[in-house]
């Protein structure tokens, strides 16, 4: 390919570090086919060709001018962090979302689907991320619904059971097609969804996180089916956050970041470490002024100064037992890919999910957090990465959103006086530069960055001892990002502990005194941020093959990277991709 892997160091050059195949905007779409696909090693025609796709949701540009293509007989993977736009792109292709701009071409014909039924009829078969099946119907029906064999207008139940039994046997799944779907485990349901998808004689099969609930044998079975379909010329889109699986099965990768295309690569030509770096991306270095100040805090090593100490804290199916001490006034960064357990660990500390193993000590006192309310009364505030659903209340005003946590903490029988509410709101609006500075504005009309500031104000209002920020800067503009980073820094200087999660490693490094690296639901390293580099973190995140003990030594980058690259050839002791996570 013309854009084969750029040498590692060069990839980081340039704003956004984007390496991108781009056709000139002014060219008419029709004649651009030849010139954009200049790749001679490619199969001649793409079965799916999406060009310049943009989708805007209220307040968010979910996809911005993205190109994507798939070839018959090839397994393609769509890579990117949470919010990169993978699911949106898939839903654009399957007709769930309409596109605001761009064209979709299927086997040479331009198409525009108004719904999943049309996409299915056109030969695009999809298994969605969450199992979208019907627990109240039989397994056979879930496989065949919408195209049941019929005799004289009646559904031919016997033929239906027979056909679905065949399909299930093809997946080596021995269950009664007449049994209720709801009686089966999530993993089996996932396989049933796949059986449904392959029953259609599809040109394109889309599997969005199909392996998230499967164990090793089941994944092997699925891969056997995928390879067999591939031989029959089906184009398969395989989306997974398990890198090992992607590298095992995929021929080609498309990387997205923040709704934009990073590039398309052949899997064999892209090293894992480069892939991870492309997914996580680089940020403009406009925040250099923080850099020098960040590491000046001296942290007392003794336990007494720890605000929170988690010892072997874990939850089955979410995060393996992990140690995480956080000192007073310390900023601890959590680094890891989506699904690595970074959010899951934070949720345990925030009392959102209950830990089922380990101990949590808050200010030297052993505590069990059962609810977020308990966490708040222990002065732990958790700000979720899902700003829209678990953060702001869009239909309430800025003032109501800010006082919400404080009011809940005081109890509903001691309302905060209106005057106090106004003072509080005004002070935070000024301190955080919330725009518009109108306390009565509805929060849903604010920009993402300002919504995030309102959320921060809400949690700061309860004067937390530990502030957990999960992706506080995702999807907000650079200016607001800088302000939030400065704020975190100042808070820590004033003695607040902060647990900072971000997919952007520079951000983590810039702010954190310590960085904890997670991979596949394990803590793989706990490093002082002293001379740590993005490269070293990338190496740990990508392969985790550097033992946690060696991690400090490995932070001198090049050695670590070599070790990683070497190790990726052999079987990786820390790879637990296939631990049957969410199942009992």
């Amino acid at each position: 390919m013309p854009r084969t892997r750029t040498p590692y160091s060069q990839n980081r050059v340039g704003p956004g570090g984007r390496i991108r195949r781009r056709m000139p905007r002014d060219r008419p779409a029709d004649d651009s086919m030849e010139s954009t696909v200049t790749n001679h090693t490619d199969p001649p025609t793409a079965v799916v060709e999406m060009r310049g796709i943009s989708i805007t949701f209220p307040g968010v540009k979910a996809l911005d001018d993205v190109d994507f293509r798939m070839f018959p007989g090839e397994v393609h993977s769509l890579m990117g962090e949470n919010g990169a736009g993978k699911s949106t792109l898939i839903k654009a292709l399957t007709g769930v979302y309409g596109i605001d701009a761009g064209t979709i071409t299927l086997a040479g014909d331009q198409v525009s689907f108004s719904g999943p039924a049309q996409a299915q009829a056109a030969g695009i078969s999809t298994v969605y991320q969450e199992v979208h099946l019907l627990p109240n119907l039989s397994v056979a029906e879930n496989i065949m619904l919408g195209r049941e064999p019929r005799r004289f207008g009646s559904i031919d139940w016997r033929a239906m059971r027979r056909r679905s039994a065949q399909l299930l046997a093809g997946l080596n799944l021995d269950i009664d097609p007449g049994s209720l779907l709801g009686d089966h485990s999530l993993a089996v349901q996932q396989l049933i969804a796949i059986a449904r998808a392959i029953d259609v004689q599809a040109k394109v099969l889309i599997l969005d996180e199909p392996t998230s609930s499967l164990d090793t044998d089941e994944v092997a079975e699925l891969f056997r089916v995928i390879r067999s379909l591939k031989e029959q010329g089906v184009a398969i889109l395989f989306v997974s956050h398990f890198l090992d699986q992607v590298y095992e099965i995929c021929d080609r990768l498309t990387v997205l970041r923040n709704g934009k295309l990073v590039g398309e690569y052949l899997t064999e030509e892209l090293l894992r470490i480069d892939l991870v770096q492309k997914m996580i991306g680089k940020e403009l270095t406009t925040l250099d002024d923080l850099e020098q100040r960040a590491r000046s805090v001296v942290v007392d090593e003794s336990d007494a100064s720890n605000f929170v100490n988690a010892a072997r804290l874990g939850r089955r199916g979410a995060i393996n037992p992990a140690d995480l001490p956080i000192a007073v006034g310390e900023v601890v960064g959590l680094a890891g890919l989506l699904g690595s357990g970074r959010t899951e660990l934070a949720r345990l500390l925030g009392g959102i999910d209950r830990a089922d193993s380990g101990e949590l000590t808050i200010r030297g006192k052993a505590t069990k957090l059962r609810t977020p309310r308990q966490a708040i009364s222990n002065r732990i505030a958790f700000s979720s990465e899902n700003r829209r659903d678990e953060g702001i209340v869009g239909d309430l005003t800025v003032r109501d959103n800010i006082v919400l946590a404080l009011q809940a903490d005081r109890g509903w029988f001691r309302p905060i006086p209106k005057k106090r509410q106004d003072e509080l709101t005004q002070s935070y609006i000024q301190a955080l530069h919330i725009r518009p500075g109108n306390p009565d504005a509805l929060v849903r009309n604010l920009s993402g960055g300002n919504q995030q500031k309102v959320l921060l104000a809400r949690w700061l209002a309860i004067a937390p001892g530990l502030l957990i920020l999960d992706e506080p800067t995702r999807g907000i503009d650079i200016g607001a990002k800088a302000e939030i980073q400065k704020l975190v820094f100042n808070l820590a200087e004033n003695g607040m502990s902060v647990l900072f999660i971000s997919a952007e490693l520079e951000e983590v490094l810039r702010l954190s005194h310590r960085v904890v690296v997670l991979r596949d639901r394990h803590v793989v390293a706990d490093l002082e941020n002293d001379g740590l580099t993005v490269d070293a973190l990338l190496a740990l995140i990508a392969d985790g093959s550097v033992e946690a003990d060696d991690a400090d030594a490995a932070s001198g980058t090049s050695g670590a990277r070599d070790a990683v690259l070497g190790a990726s050839e052999t079987s990786d002791p820390l790879t637990i991709d296939n631990v049957p996570g969410g199942r009992r």
């Binding site: 769930v96 719904g115 999943p116 039924a117 996409a119 299915q120 009829a121 999809t126 969605y128 979208h132 099946l133 019907l134 627990p135 109240n136 119907l137 029906e141 619904l145 919408g146 049941e148 019929r150 207008g153 009646s154 559904i155 139940w157 065949q166 399909l167 046997a169 093809g170 997946l171 080596n172 799944l173 021995d174 269950i175 209720l180 709801g182 089966h184 089996v188 449904r196 392959i198 029953d199 004689q201 044998d217 089941e218 079975e221 056997r224 089916v225 067999s228 031989e231 029959q232």
Partner: protein
Amino acid sequence: MTKLLDAPQQPKLPVRPSMPPARRLGATIRNLMTSPKYGPVIVTAVLFIAVFVIGGVRYRGFFSGQVFLNLLVDNSYLIVLAVGMTFVILTGGIDLSVGAVVALSGMIAASLLQTGWSPSVVIPLLLVLTSVLGLLVGLMIHVFKVQPFIATLAAMFLARGLCYMVSQSSISITDPVFVSLAQTRIPLGGNLSITPSVIIALIVVAIAVWVLHSTRFGRTVYAIGAGEQSGLLMGLPVARTKVLVYVISGFCSGLAGVLFTFYTLSGYPLTAIGTELDAIAAVVIGGTLLTGGYGFVLGSVLGVLVLGVIQTIITFEGTLSSWWTRIFIGALLLVFIILQKVLTARRR
């Protein structure tokens, strides 16, 4: 796809351990009872038989075929209503308009017959009118995303108001066809007999069972009840089906109105007040989940029969006021909803 089929025979995934037959039977029963699909229906069937047996033990003459058949005779219109309601509730919706539509179709029938229209025109016209009303309600729910509760509440007020537009007082029906349909008894031998209404109701039930069980439309109804979004993503015609169930409910209300006039031989604007709630109660007691997705038409028929048998017992008791029926139905509903919760929760 044939290539997939010659998969290597590896150990199959879920292995069911073999157990002794007695325990297996116990497990099967347990499984059936806690199944959200069959459990509530089985409980209703057991309850119906139990109440019937209790009645038979307590009262002389209760244990006769005619008492049972009279349950059908007296409740044929309610059976038809419950069938329509089952479609709606299976999708997770509700239809509050059916009682008022029964009254409206009775009023229209009575007044048109009074002015000399032929029954062969009046009945089809009624069925079309009530279906169109159902269509409008369905479109309102689908297009404007109105809650079914509100949309059908509006339709209920509309239909009830229209009753008074037709006439403020009772209109009696003297049309010979209606009178003969009302009075005909079809002998079944051995002193047993039913009315034509029963046959119509049973035909409706049979068609509904077939539609729900054996057509794509019917299966889509169940799919919508379990998850509209999932159904949509599976490429099912969700919108069409959602509107159609209200058309069916409208049609059934119209037909129930006709059967009701066979029963009363008059039209009166205040009839069938609260009948929609009887229909909902019958459907729920019959094992259909109010949130949709689980339930059977035959369950709803059983539900109607349970309501009927309670009423019959109270009649046999003689000293109890008929309001006791309501109290029993209320208590039963409560028990059933809790039972559904408990049974289906046990499973998790």
